[in-house]
Amino acid sequence: MELQIDHISKSFKDKRAVDSVSMTLTPGVWGLLGANGAGKTTLMRMIAGIMQPDEGQIRYDGLPIGTLKGRYREIFGYLPQEFGFYPEFTVKDYLEYAAALKGLPVRDTKRRVMELLEMLSLSDVYRKKIVRLSGGMKRRVGIAQALLNEPELLIMDEPTSGLDPGERVRFRNLLSEFAKDRIVLISTHIVSDVEYIATRNAVMKDGRLIAEGTTEELVKLVDGKVWQCVIPAERLPEYERRLRIVNLRNEADGRVSIRYLSENAETAENLRMTDADPEGRAGSMPAVVMPSDKPATPRLEDLYLWLFPQDAAHDAQDAAGAPRKLGNGRRSEAGTEREQPQRTKAAAPEAGLRGEAGTAAAVRTRGQADSDRGSDSAFDTEKGGRNA
């Protein structure tokens, strides 16, 4: 069982939403990561067969999905990003309607609906109108409809938005179990959703696939680029200006523990030498004490933030549902709210990836955004087997 995506592209007016994306999906959970506007939803719509690519082809077990038509749609489940429903529908009506759309016979429908209601803890609300349900419950109804036909290929666009942490964990477990012999593709910018359950991940940026690999393989790309240290609280604004802080936590002693992304540890000396005070006297600011600067174990979220330096902070905060600011204007979770100046050393994360690709065996990194096209040939690297 495999789904081959072969150089598919899609443009809308002047925007190239998906640009020559190729990948082969095999059974397991696949995470599709990318910031808003990266082209994930368009790619998923094309995989779902509801949008036609301008170029390229998608094949299921070697057969173009356009040829398989209804046969292809019979074997997949799809949860769109925008979950819609007719306002008069109860949960039961909705699932029965979705079953009819999928062509399930009535006797199978009843059995399957009851199973899913039980599985997704919706039994108590199945006679309620969907419009009256909470956001999380609505999302679960959407997940249920996608699973109705026991699909071989499950495509879910932002499936966990609106779910509370407990529901998200249950959903992840459900998916892991479900994906044993099926292809599950989840698009999300909530990195933790796929970090633990994804067999492989693909990262999209500006319509292109820029990296693909297992979580461990991808995380290796930012190995040595994630640092943590504890700093005095009053120095935080300075650090926020200078470093790409992905997480900060107030410590009991009034200091702040920060986690940041950088090619190298930003020692006090580095900060002093690259800085200038308001009057332009280089190196005149007092040295910042970084008592415990040490490398941190990278996570998939770090890679995401490394690849999407401008937008990722907002996404990460939204995903974590974290308050944007602490009492004194600090942010508590990944990233900072104000725009982070690009530091010289960390200015080109993808360039960093290129340099590091050689050390990240079995990870494939792909072509870059349009601005990087000129160096595509140098950038495209294929290290080791993709299925390693």
């Binding site: 495999e2 067969g49 949008m51 070697g62 046969r71 819609g84």
Partner: protein, 288 residues
């Protein structure tokens, strides 16, 4: 994992797909991405499957057989339409019935119960009902866009085209029943000849339906209900104006000439409906 093994054994699939692509299209057409899907005949498809199954792994052959036969029992399109009646049809018909009951009540209240015993009013009433029937079903057809169900419907077994066809069939059934009832009522309660009644029921209905179907192709889903209502109002005004400019407009019989006009409009409606259904296989960017 078996999938990985299979990916190593994808040669036959690759060869086959190359053959499909090569057979159906070439050059820029191919790169233009018109995947061979829409144009492959059943025989060609069977041929491709046979080619794909030759020499492949047993598991792969079995899977392709599964794809060929469809996986698990599935309902037929007829059964699908019957189920749709429960979810979409009944509501649509009930709403239309309520609309016409309200319209009748208003007319009775302001013009008296016997208003349509005068031929001039009866004919205008028939035209109005006919126009309203054509226009009032449209919001139900494109409700999927309003409530963002179109993606789920488009990804279903029958695709959005099948769902649209089912909705059109239900609309046609509802309109036929409604206009049939109006025809019978007019036949019993007025002194108009049957041919005239049929003409004034059919002509505005077919004209409005054809224009609505054209609007469905050209206007975005969000603007469609308003556009159709505006079109209905304009047509109603145009029929009124025609009655003033041409005295004989409301005393026509169903002559062969009018019959030919109705036949042409019917053909145009069917052609436009087919076109809509064919194009609805993929979501248009502006509606997606």
């Amino acid at each position: 994992m078996s999938g990985r093994k299979m990916s190593s054994g994808r040669m036959s699939g690759g060869r086959m797909s190359g053959r499909i692509s090569g057979g159906r299209m070439s050059g820029s057409k191919m790169s233009g991405g018109r995947t061979s899907g829409g144009k492959m005949s059943g025989r060609e498809f069977e041929k491709c499957l046979r080619a794909a199954m030759k020499g492949g792994e047993p598991e792969r052959r079995k899977r392709l057989c599964g794809v060929q036969r469809g996986i698990g029992p599935r309902t037929s399109f007829r059964e699908f339409v019957l189920v749709q009646i429960r979810f979409i049809g009944l509501r649509m018909w009930a709403a239309q019935a309520a609309l016409f009951a309200a319209l009748g009540s208003v007319l009775w209240t302001f013009m008296g119960r016997d208003f349509w015993q005068e031929d001039q009013y009866a004919v205008r009433f028939l035209c109005g009902v006919s126009l309203a029937a054509a226009v009032s079903a449209l919001p139900f057809i494109y409700r999927a866009f309003r409530y963002r169900m179109h993606e789920i419907e488009a990804s279903s077994r029958y695709s959005f085209a099948g769902v649209l066809l089912a909705k059109m069939l239900m609309t046609a059934i509802g309109d036929a029943a409604l206009l049939g009832a109006v025809f019978l009522g007019a036949l019993m309660r007025t002194e108009l000849p049957a041919g005239s009644i049929l003409l004034y029921v059919l002509l505005p209905f077919l004209l409005a339906s054809w224009l609505s179907l054209n609007l469905m192709e050209r206007v975005s889903a969000a603007a469609l209900p308003a556009a159709c209502m505006a079109m209905g109002a304009l047509l109603f005004a145009a029929l009124g104006t025609a009655g003033r400019l041409w005295e004989g407009f409301y005393v026509q019989e169903l002559t062969p000439g009018w019959l030919a006009v109705c036949a042409v409009l019917t053909m145009l409606c069917i052609r436009q409906a087919k076109r809509l259904v064919r194009d609805a296989v993929y979501l248009k960017p502006q509606t997606a």
